[in-house]
Amino acid sequence: MTVDSISSENLSVEASSEGAPVEQVTDTRETQESLNKRVPVLELDRLSVTFDRPILDKLTAQMHGSCIGLLGPNGAGKTTLLNTLLGFNRKTTGRASILGHDLTSDNHFVRGLVGYMPERDSFIAGMSGVRFVRLMAELSGLSSKVALERAHEVFFYVGLGEARYRNIESFSLGMKQLVKLAQAIVHGPKILFLDEPTNGLDPPARARMLQLIREIRDSGDTKIIIASHLLQDIESCCDEVLVLKDGKVAKYCNLEEERRSNKHFLLIQIRGDEEGFVEGLRKLGCEVALPNRRRIKAIIPEGVEIQHLYALAESLSVQIRNLDYKRDSLEDIFLRAMEED
């Protein structure tokens, strides 16, 4: 086990992950091997981008998740970071790598691994959906025949099979979002960049989009990086989150670990001998806090079960009125990160 440091200029957060030597990969098969060896999906090393003002300021991070969220308020630098990773922007200083490939020296190769769903409407006028997606597949390197086959398949996969011969300009906003996803995954990319994928979608379409993202994530074939300002979207799909604020890393959060570590975090409401109950909890080995009257926060150690609490309450003639598993939501984490200077 190694410790990877996630930090911006004045912030340092630690995250545990398995480390492995990075190997130069030259073809798709080797890339798969590298993935298996836990090469970082995304590695930023003091990455800065400046236009007329600094947009990204010395970002440093190393992330291994299968779905990585870039979270932040509007103007935080999420899209700029995506654009830089895609090679659209030139970095000012620092370095970045994707799946172990340096963006500067292996730019062309990296773009062969990438699928990209932009935030804004993006299509080619006057084309049917399937022809558009086929063109995108061919541009990614698929042969004409395979591209046509996969274009049809991906249209069915995203749920637009019946509309695939319609002109894209006639599609609704939700359909256009799905077509953007289709063109991004048609060539089976190793890493998928999604920029605000649920923008403008109604609730059912949004749920469908998030479901598709989770399915792609769970396939294990494709790593995903999502930029969004919607906390629920990130929370429902991602296992690692990088919160950006004013072009800096405000917080790194491994949601998967958070979920695991907070499994025994309880919020308890009682009536009766509070002091005695708290003392009893401490004797059981629990960490206890009293955030307000008649509410007790307790972190329960391994080996202590809920029935032990009920037994304690019975022995002290205390009523347990409410007992709830509780953990910090992403919203809590995000809001704290925004408040921190």
């Binding site: 236009f51 922007n89 062309h108 990438v114 299509f123 698929l142 996969y157 598709l212």
Partner: protein, 292 residues
């Protein structure tokens, strides 16, 4: 069963060579051009002139026909560079202009307007491949209606004239190829640059026509006032006229109105026009807009 009907799967099959991606852009752009029946009709019409000239040459060398038509053989004009310049190259240049005005602006501007550039440039192709793919469409179609049909015409004339005519006039083949390609290239790049700048294809067409039209008027005014070659440098068509006249070795009195400019300046004009157009293109074709 289709793989995506069951679950999402990645792709690990073979990939095409990087150069093939340029051909993909070319192939799709070419197919888009021929979706218009109007363009198809125009394209067919462009072949009428070479066919008519072939018939003319056949009749020109048909002594029986000429005698029957009571044509004075002494008055017949000579078939040389002047003839091919006036009868073939000039009309072809006009057709090329119409063709490029029709399809050139429609090739780039819709992609930029509909924000398609991030989709292209996030894939393993670059701006140069994209521009080259689109440019190849105009180069191929332009060639097909200009110097390609001119070649059989020269050989037909050489065959009919006999007596080493072809050997004496081989420079006409070079003149036709070079002049046509230079005209196609400069107009194509200009149309791409204008359409990349304007982003609306109808407006881009008007702007493209306006640039050529007003550059010739402005160049004429400058020449009238100040004299010399400065005005011709502004007039985009003057440059190609000079290149044509030099390469065809044309000296007919009918060409006296042509620009009086050295070929070096004409080549410089062609070079500058191409460089400026490419500069604008590379500035405008990008994956995202920077908002200050």
């Amino acid at each position: 069963m289709a793989i995506f009907q069951k679950a999402y799967q990645g792709y690990s099959g073979p990939l095409t060579k990087p150069m093939d991606r340029t051909w993909v852009i070319f192939r799709y752009a070419l197919a888009d051009v021929f979706q218009s029946r109007l363009f198809l009709a125009f394209f067919a019409v462009c072949f009428l002139l070479p066919i008519l000239l072939m018939c003319f040459l056949y009749l020109f060398y048909n002594l029986e026909f000429l005698i029957e038509m009571d044509v004075d053989l002494e008055e017949l004009t000579e078939i040389d560079g002047n003839f091919f310049l006036l009868a073939m190259q000039y009309p072809q240049n006009f057709m090329l202009f119409v063709m490029i005005m029709a399809i050139g602006p429609a090739m780039i501007s819709p992609d930029i307007r509909n924000n398609a550039m991030p989709l292209f440039l996030s894939r393993p192709i670059n701006k140069a491949s994209y521009i080259l793919g689109k440019l190849l469409v105009l180069l191929v179609l332009g060639s097909l209606i200009s110097w390609v049909p001119a070649l059989p015409l020269f050989f037909w004339q050489g065959y009919l004239a006999g007596g080493g005519w072809l050997g004496d006039n081989l420079h006409l083949i070079v003149a036709s190829v070079v002049t046509s390609m230079a005209w196609i290239l400069s107009l194509s790049l200009l149309s791409f640059a204008v359409s990349a700048w304007v982003e609306w294809k109808t407006v881009a067409r008007l702007a493209f026509f306006g640039i050529l039209f007003f550059s010739s008027i402005f160049g004429g005014v400058v020449t009238e006032i100040f004299g010399g070659w400065g005005g011709y440098m502004v007039n985009i068509y003057a440059g190609i006229e000079v290149i044509m006249r030099e390469l065809y070795r044309a000296d007919s009195n009918l060409l006296d109105w042509m620009a009086d400019m050295q070929i070096g300046y004409a080549l410089l004009q062609f070079f500058l026009l191409s460089v400026i157009s490419l500069f604008v293109l590379t500035r405008r074709i990008r994956a995202f807009q920077v908002v200050s």
